[in-house]
Symmetry: C2
Subunit: 220 residues, 2 copies
DNA sequence: AGTATATCGATATATATTTATCGATATAAC
DNA sequence: GTTATATCGATAAATATATATCGATATACT
């Protein structure tokens, strides 16, 4: 949280929402959306907290960060809350995404339907291997990587997923940045080096699984 | 950190390493392993921090949590550090893992070779769909789910990956817990409810990607 | 040998996050 | 209408995490 001193008055900049909170918001949203239609129209932070096994104050604080529609004794109107969360998280305006690497993981992501409700639209995948190029058992196309630059620039696509072998990760990364990609999700164990204006997230499934395994072995 | 008072002396229980640190350790390890053979045998926390774009004190503190082999002016011996990290993270003793759901994602995980160097061995996948059962283009078998219980108990497997459609996630989860699984990695957007003695991790790829997208849109 | 320097580990400070407490308020029950 | 209660939001306290500072030490240089 940043504080600015201007003419004797402390102004609290409210923009910044911490990444921890940001990561929890989709969880609340997911739960709210899973509620049946005949559920009561209001829900309390206490209820949410109990179901999701979180602290009730935390839930209230998190929700307060994106909306202020809670009423004492009543709780939050579920419909409004879903709306606020979706708007805040940007799930309402669609964002186009491309995938580089049409191996097994790339194809799995390409045909995964669940992205849509997060405001994401996977447009196409790209690969160098001619044998995977085409459109077998997927509604979405797989192009040769040489077409990536043109497509991204024409459609103004700024988000890319890297699902190639670790050895080529950095080269692919550099290349797609040149093509206009500004945010990268990297499924490779290789830690990418990117310029400061590029956002890169790292998803190391093997490492996460190993951590789970360690946690298990520590449990007495 | 827990403090215990025993006969006037404060004993600090050193066991607990926070999850944030635990998540960073594989990053250090990955970097160290990526160093070429002809690199100098020692490395300083400063160097690691610069390459990985982290604070140097943080690196030092993280490493101090698992080892104490750093020497002033010299740094850490790379080989020893790798060894300590691998031992600490449990990458040295193999852990068996099973996958439930042999759809595209399940198959991708099944044939991913990268797990091995994290001390993980994917043993088999299970599904209900007879058309995927068998052994097409994978060195590892896909069995009918009815065989899961027997296999897990015979091999004493305690780690499971759920890669089924969200609708069946909870049912599968309950089932594999009955079969002896103690730690679960869930690739479904559905938030699993598990007993307190079961560890469940949640990997929501779509949500992570959406967060990346949000970060991008906020960048001014 | 003496000095300069890179680096460590430890301690201290700052920041962030979580959890607890409390008064205020909207509804429900009487 | 009054009282009881669930719930909110705000403030405060506790905890965790990150960053800064500093003395100690091992090497390199003179």
């Amino acid at each position: 949280m940043y504080y600015f001193f201007a003419e004797g008055v402390i102004i609290i900049e409210p923009k910044c929402i911490s990444r921890v909170i940001l990561k929890r918001l989709p969880i609340y949203l997911g739960y709210l959306k899973s509620l049946p239609n005949d559920a009561p129209p209001h829900i309390s932070a206490t209820t949410i907290a109990n179901v999701l096994q979180m602290g009730e104050v935390q839930v209230r604080k998190d929700l307060a960060a994106v909306c202020d529609i809670g009423k004492p004794k009543i709780g939050y109107k579920v419909r409004d809350l879903i709306d606020e969360l979706e708007t805040f998280l940007g799930f309402k305006d669609m964002n186009d995404v491309i995938i580089v690497g049409a191996g097994k993981l790339g194809k799995a992501l390409l045909s995964y339907e669940g992205f849509r409700e997060y405001g994401l639209s996977i447009v196409a995948a790209f690969d160098v291997d001619d044998t995977v190029i085409g459109n077998m058992n997927s509604t979405k196309p797989i192009y040769h990587i040489s077409k990536l630059s043109d497509l991204c620039q024409r459609m103004n696509i700024q988000i890319g997923i890297i699902a190639v072998p670790a050895e080529s990760a950095q080269a692919i990364c550099d290349y797609i940045i040149k093509c206009g990609i500004k945010a990268i999700m990297n499924f490779t164990p290789y830690l990418l080096k990117v310029p400061s204006d590029i956002i890169a997230h790292h998803v190391n499934i093997a490492a996460s699984l190993a951590l789970l395994s360690k946690q298990l072995s520590e449990q007495t």
